[in-house]
Symmetry: C2
């Protein structure tokens, strides 16, 4: 079977084109939308990602302030920074970059981000608004998976989807979004006894476990749709996904590439969230 | 196969015994724990349930104030009542009874309940704390399902569980709790294309759809565990579950009865939450 490449580049470009227009309108009306990017690590992959976000923001006319708290910042220091930026009317949007310093978890600090500025949807209130089906910012990666499927005209209503991974920022919010689209959703993870049984029962498989090559051709049904959310650093420094593309290609009906699949859509949605936060704040 | 009856009565009694002691200690130290039960309907099943909660509270030494706003209360009226009770130090815990008046949804009003008093875990913040794995009150019915399984020594780690129903107060929070116990979780619902496929693939099936007899013997595997969360009013006024006990009995390894299964555990957990809220408030 031919395996279609479910790229995210066209979709990202379309979102970005709209975002740039709205950012320009905000700038014309007073000030460009502003994202505060709070960093507390010296991780190389994180630095690479932060730089790519800053470049994306610049292209779209979004102001992006990097606030570096250092790799040894305490939870209290990070919370106080997030609280201050939440109260600052010059800041429209806040993103806290991971990883965090040793001993600090996202749960320790994320509630200090005002939900109205929480463009990556990480605070407990944002997660709860999603669980309740209310308006709020959804974690961009999980939203990107759904948008990518919709863009490629893959129906979700009544379909079986298995999500591999149960993180608070991808797997769990994605399950909520898929349920809202009327999919029948299974969440599998590292403690799942028979991963191949969970994935091969599904029409759509989303790999979001953060493990190189976890999902192979043996895990997916002939004709399934496979979305690869993984962005793992390989031994040679390149970014590779959770899916073993070599064995899935020829068996799946569609596979999203890494890079160039979910990634660009995630960045585009994050930037759209910044503009939405700014529009909301300015009435 | 013999089908064990997974009753909740012993477990509820054990929880209640502990709750009564803690309520007495609180009363000795100053004041009995107090639950404000806000009602805005004239529904007979709701009235029956409210009365049963008041009897349960009384037996345990918990003060239970019924605040009746009438079946035509506006969302604004309900919110203002919930806000006032949230601010009132004499109230330890708040429960908003459903159904709500026509045109008012739980989502319209639940955020007015302070999360520290939200003993049925319905506010967006409570749902988000659950999604993030943080401390907060969990919807009592979903917690009761997990506690009932644990009580009957049914392991969850690595097991496959299908939850039928995706409500914000049972199905969705239950999926979170089961994931936290390392189960592989599928959520099926009214739009699921092949319900029998989703349920018969699971070692444990939880029926929480609110439809009489939805889950029959044809839906469950030989030897499966079946938990019935349904509390539907039948034509003759009795309370019946979502499971067709006649066809499931003899095929399943265990089935929770209705009444006498999840129900008494739910009430016991609600009352325990009231005592916990009071203990927390009084330091």
């Amino acid at each position: 079977m031919d395996t279609a490449s479910l790229t995210g580049k066209d979709l990202a470009a379309a979102i970005n084109s709209d975002t740039a227009k709205r950012a320009a309108a905000l700038a014309d009306a007073g000030a460009a939308p502003t994202l505060a990017l709070v960093v507390a690590n010296d991780d190389s992959a994180s630095t690479w990602y932060v730089n790519s976000l800053r470049r994306a923001a610049k292209k779209l006319g979004i102001e992006c302030d990097r606030i570096d708290l250092g790799a040894y910042a305490s939870a209290a220091r990070i919370r106080s920074e997030l609280t201050a930026r939440s109260a600052d009317p010059a800041v429209d949007a806040i993103m806290l970059q991971t990883p965090l310093p040793a001993g600090v978890t996202l749960d320790d600090v994320s509630s200090a981000i005002d939900a109205r500025k929480d463009v990556d949807g990480v605070s407990p209130l944002s997660l709860g608004l999603l669980a309740a089906g209310l308006d709020g910012f959804v974690p961009a990666t999980s939203e990107a998976v759904v948008e990518l499927l919709v863009h490629h005209e893959i129906p979700l209503e009544g379909r079986t989807v298995t999500v591999v991974g149960r993180s608070n920022i991808v797997g769990k919010p994605l399950a909520q979004l898929l349920l809202a689209k009327n999919a029948t959703v299974t969440v599998a993870h590292s403690r799942t006894a028979d991963l191949a049984a969970a994935t091969s029962a599904a029409e759509i498989v989303v790999a979001a476990a953060g493990r190189i090559g976890l999902v192979t051709g043996e895990h997916v049904n002939e004709g399934a749709i496979v979305i690869d959310v993984g962005t793992n650093e390989s031994a040679d420094g390149s970014i590779v996904g959770d899916v073993d593309a070599a064995t899935v290609t020829g068996k799946a009906a569609g596979l999203s590439p890494v890079p160039g699949g979910v990634g660009p859509v995630t960045t585009a949605l994050l930037m759209r969230h910044v503009v939405v936060a700014a529009e909301n704040a300015r009435g």
